[in-house]
Subunit: 348 residues, 2 copies
């Protein structure tokens, strides 16, 4: 069994610490990847701190993985040693399922998450990208376009697809007014991708502190949601609002910013139920919807789109020894805009 080194959480209340573990033996359809970079997603923190009540320790987090292929199984046809590749939030799905829908595999019950999950063999715990290598079935490995830097591409695998998928599904493009709520790791990707799709992007952020960045990344307008006049000015404005803020907001006030037939899509889950007034939806045929990452097919489409438009994440690169400190900074929104762990630092 291949040995991997990484950082793991061993308990909800303890910091991540160095951890050595066995990866599964590669099969004929597997790709072995030398991990070079791993993004830090807020979900990593939710999971290792057991805030979603499903943690099985030890957990090596990380589902924004970028690296180089170091070996391929005999049946692998799409990748060869040396290829630049990525792995996102899942590494297997319900392939044997009668109702399997390749465009929606990420919504199927048999999804195997990249960490804190169990492989298709029913016993091996999956472990994520805060580590130096991973073994993944060819069908769940993504190709990273040559023109994109590997480090800043890592966050595309979760943050990128999380925004790309709803923007594509709800047809953001020329003539569409789209609001991105929250200007963080997810939100800033929405600005870049949505603008590249040709949509007219407005950022709705608590304050104007990141306004200059937002406009530079492609937003046409930028408003502070702490200013009540924002909600008067923008009433009935948007075809689509994508909400990346995983906290309680004044939901009905945001729904009021939609046009007739507009949709507000939640990609960051708040802890408590969202109190929607029926009259926020009925007069205007509005929708409150959810969206979660994207299929492998759509993730590759997103990476190719980002390659074409030269889009990567804005990152702050750190050594893995700084991961616990980085978590604290994520919780304070003190990062512009995504932490990426340089896995080479493991050897330090």
């Amino acid at each position: 069994m291949p040995i991997a080194r990484g950082y793991a959480a061993t308990d909800a209340s303890k910091p991540l610490t160095p951890f050595t573990f066995e990866r599964r033996e590669p099969n004929a359809d597997d790709v072995v990847i030398d991990i070079k970079f791993a993004g830090i997603c807020h979900s990593d923190i939710h999971t290792v701190r057991n805030e979603w009540k499903n943690a099985v320790y030890p957990i090596v987090p990380g589902h924004e993985i970028a690296g180089i292929v170091s070996a391929v199984g005999a049946n692998v046809t799409k990748f060869k040693v040396g290829d630049r590749v990525g792995v996102g939030c899942f590494v297997d799905s319900c392939v044997g399922c009668a109702t399997r829908d390749v465009d929606n595999e990420h919504y199927m019950p048999g999804l195997v998450q990249t960490y804190n999950s169990v492989e298709a063999d029913g016993k091996t715990a999956t472990q994520g990208g805060y580590s130096d290598s991973i073994v993944v079935k060819e069908g769940y490995v993504l190709s990273i376009p040559d023109n994109l830097p590997l480090d800043a591409s890592a966050p595309l695998l979760c943050a990128g697809i999380t925004l790309y998928s709803p923007l594509a599904h709800w047809k953001a493009g020329p003539g569409k007014k789209v609001a991105i709520v929250g200007m963080g790791g997810l939100g800033h990707m929405g600005v870049k991708i949505g603008a590249a799709m040709g949509a007219d992007i407005t950022v709705l952020s608590q304050t104007l502190s990141k306004k200059e960045d937002g406009l530079k990344l492609g937003a046409k307008e930028y408003y502070a949601t702490s200013d009540a006049s924002t909600f008067e000015k923008l009433a009935g404005t948007f075809d689509l609002i994508i909400c990346t803020a995983g906290v309680a907001i004044d939901w009905n006030a945001y729904l009021n910013l939609l046009k007739v037939d507009g949709s507000m899509v939640i990609v960051g889950a708040p802890e408590h139920a969202i109190p929607v007034h029926a009259f926020s939806l009925i007069p205007g045929r509005k929708s409150l919807s959810g969206s979660m990452i994207g299929s492998i097919k759509e993730t590759q489409e997103m990476l190719d789109f980002c390659g074409k438009h030269n889009i990567v994440s804005e990152i702050e690169k750190i050594n893995i020894q700084q991961v616990n400190e980085a978590y604290e900074r994520v919780l304070k929104s003190d990062v512009r805009y995504r932490f990426v762990i340089d896995i080479a630092s493991l050897a330090a």
Copy 2:
């Protein structure tokens, strides 16, 4: 000014009583209608009892109007004396508005409701169909197909279009599994219309008391929501759920009955906010949406569709003197399935 006789509410707490009033002078683009039948909609009760806090008395309710044209203005081209016509929930809209969308006029701010509203002249109170005549602009008059009985067609003007519009918009048809929540005045129309569109209809009702009717009207299946096993059996079943129940239900349990990309559409407004869990929407890209009646264009399309498929409401016809008693029975869901007032009884 033409004199009309009808029944009006003069106060939130008093019964409806006979009321004589002036209709506005017909203009060149107006149609004058001898009202023959008026359906009783739950909204009539909400309005006259001031439950929506917008009542301006006296109010002659009624927005499910069927009658015969008795006169037409000089510029009217679509109707002639003797035509069988209907009037629904609104009698004017923001015709001068720059952003006017004829497919969505019913969602525009300038909508003039059939009663408890003010005409485009900015001063004349609109009064509804519990009366013997009405003056309506040609563009807001609908043609009732010759093969449909006038009495049972009246409820198509609100209940019919309220269900037709979301069924059409969310593409109910062959291969689509659609649930209708509630088997009342609205719900039974959804069963008939959805089945005629070719969708596979399931009724979700509190009990099985109307099961036989539901199956007869076109439903393939019928489940009691008071039985918890219904929610286990039907998890992940529906492409579309249309909720006609204007009361609090276990919303997240219903959202769990949707397939990936499914939508639950509210057409009956509950009093309190709907507590939606983000995880009821995110994993499955589901939507909670609202829908309200339909445009004039779509209402005519609905009437033509009903003509083609011989669809009308199941009604219990009453004399206008029974209206207050009928209201009490509506509140107890004691009607199969819509009360229609025979306006000829006014002369009794």
